[in-house]
Symmetry: C2
Subunit: 354 residues, 2 copies
Amino acid sequence: MWYNEIKKVGENMDELKRDKMNIYDIAKLSGVSIATVSRVVNGSPNVSEKTKEKVLAVIKKSEYTPNVFARGLGLNSMKMIGILCPDISDLYMAQAVSYLEKRLHQYGYDCILGCSGHEQKSKEHHTKLLLSKRIDTLIMVGSTYAGIGNNPREAEYIRAAARQVPVFLVNGYIQGENIFCSYGDDFQGAYDITTALIRRGKKRILFLSDSRTYSAEQKLKGYEAALSDAGYPILGDLKFYTKNDIHYIQDILLAHRTLEFDSVLACNDSLGVGALKYAKARGIKVPEELSVTGYNNSVMSVCSEPELTSVDNHLEQICYDTIENMVKVLQGEKNVEQNNKIPCQIVKRCSTDF
Amino acid sequence: MWYNEIKKVGENMDELKRDKMNIYDIAKLSGVSIATVSRVVNGSPNVSEKTKEKVLAVIKKSEYTPNVFARGLGLNSMKMIGILCPDISDLYMAQAVSYLEKRLHQYGYDCILGCSGHEQKSKEHHTKLLLSKRIDTLIMVGSTYAGIGNNPREAEYIRAAARQVPVFLVNGYIQGENIFCSYGDDFQGAYDITTALIRRGKKRILFLSDSRTYSAEQKLKGYEAALSDAGYPILGDLKFYTKNDIHYIQDILLAHRTLEFDSVLACNDSLGVGALKYAKARGIKVPEELSVTGYNNSVMSVCSEPELTSVDNHLEQICYDTIENMVKVLQGEKNVEQNNKIPCQIVKRCSTDF
DNA sequence: AATGATATTGTAAGCGTTTACATTACCATA
DNA sequence: TATGGTAATGTAAACGCTTACAATATCATT
């Protein structure tokens, strides 16, 4: 065998431990062929009990770990999932990645993380990089810009990625072959919040958002639908777009003195906290004079004073479903749900009086 | 060549695009050998300009991507860094991972993320998993339990890992061969905060912590040193250990009615916010009657009311240094700093009167 | 035109697995 | 004891790259 001529393998196991062992070493030490070692390692049933024990003993003693690169070459998979996340320092996305990783791990997958930032170019670049690592599937965290023609390019590159591996969107929504979405029903969430505010007699609800993502658009639609259903007008000046920075929000609201509103529906908790800061700065009492609601039910909503009424969109469930679907797809199951919408739930705290 | 007999490769490139191309396909299409293709792909200087262009054109047209598994096999590296993070949903660690990933990416490395939780067993398990993926180095985020004999086992398994690949601790501290630490000088941070409180006449400073990590121990020592230097006694009942949960902290402090303190030095912002909630619940005015300081300067410190004075320990710098050191080590540089301590800085906000 | 140096390209071994297929061992049955 | 079937094991090709070394091309000198 060419192999033995290259590596002069001694008989003494202690001596061997120095270098990384390979399957030939194990085979030799246990007196079987590499095929048998491979079978043992991979839990094949076609190995006699005696042989299995013998090989396992050697493996244990020699601290052998199969080379994942070689295995990857043979199987064309390393059981690696790519996770693309615009910003892992964002509380919500970090939470998502945490849930995803946990579940992936339970299924024996590892994840390689790409933090792309929010720019289109950069997202595409990171996607390419992840794909070049021969990941088994790609999970994209965070809402997509697939609103009314807002960013047609995003849909395109995601569909392109889906031609290579199954793509799973966490809180994104794009339809296409090999694309699977799981997301919170933000239309309903915003509808419910708006309705609750209306019931408490609010007339001018400020819709506070920082982006034009699919998720944000759904919230907007829910907000508008609730207003319509209550027979209220939809006012353009009450749709307020700003930067996601607490103090910036405070300042910009302070600057718009003429803008009148009796409540704020913020599209995330950070925006909600910004609104609270504004109220504090102007000496407006919350919730007596102003109701404020956040969104996502993050830890921020519980840091503020008063604590922020928010919407829990069951991120854990979303992530869980994502991985379940992924496993199904990888197992070749047909007819996996491509459009998994999960209901939201209002979490009442002290920034509202309902 | 055996190869051509297996895959009947047509001359028409469009026809080829169906399956993934490999280096033989590219070689054939460009009329060169695979060695030359490899050289072009890896930017070797020993290729004529003409050939390079020709090959690159084919590569582009055929959308060829080198197989990372095969490359990994040959080079015994996939340019992959393992990041072990106890809890990626923790703001501080998520921020760290974000910084690390960004910098790694600039150096052409990808990172595979393992979220281990805080338990020893689980950490060891995840470490093994990461190592089995043949990562180039291992980065461990979060403080280690290497305090005064608190968890001797942790040091052991980290040293074991360091026998396989270089290990980099972000905010951890363990000495050993092949182990490189970068961390904030929390002794100094706590010392400075404590001194500032003392200067404002505080007599009974509550030291609020949730763990016995190296970092927490350093803070404790800084706190005690500052007290000593000011000629103050170190009182056991003022060292308060609790769970890291805002409402739990509020409740437990409320329950300890007899415990008197005029200021709180919290070991992280979450604990600090808990203390603020406690003050609010008891109607104690902050900062007039009670000063509260947090630690880490996270977004939480700016959500609360009043906003929390905190300590910025320059996480970005820590992460940056970590990667710089890592690259040096991988380049075979000798004498890389194994003990990189970075100064902290107080960020004054409204929860203190200094 | 022959020579030698250098630039460019090619050949084939090696990386460590998996697995189809071939071979051998084992055992019950005729 | 021969026979056939099954269980266990082994052999060798295949995965797609890198790279040492060999071979050839190129070109300026003599």
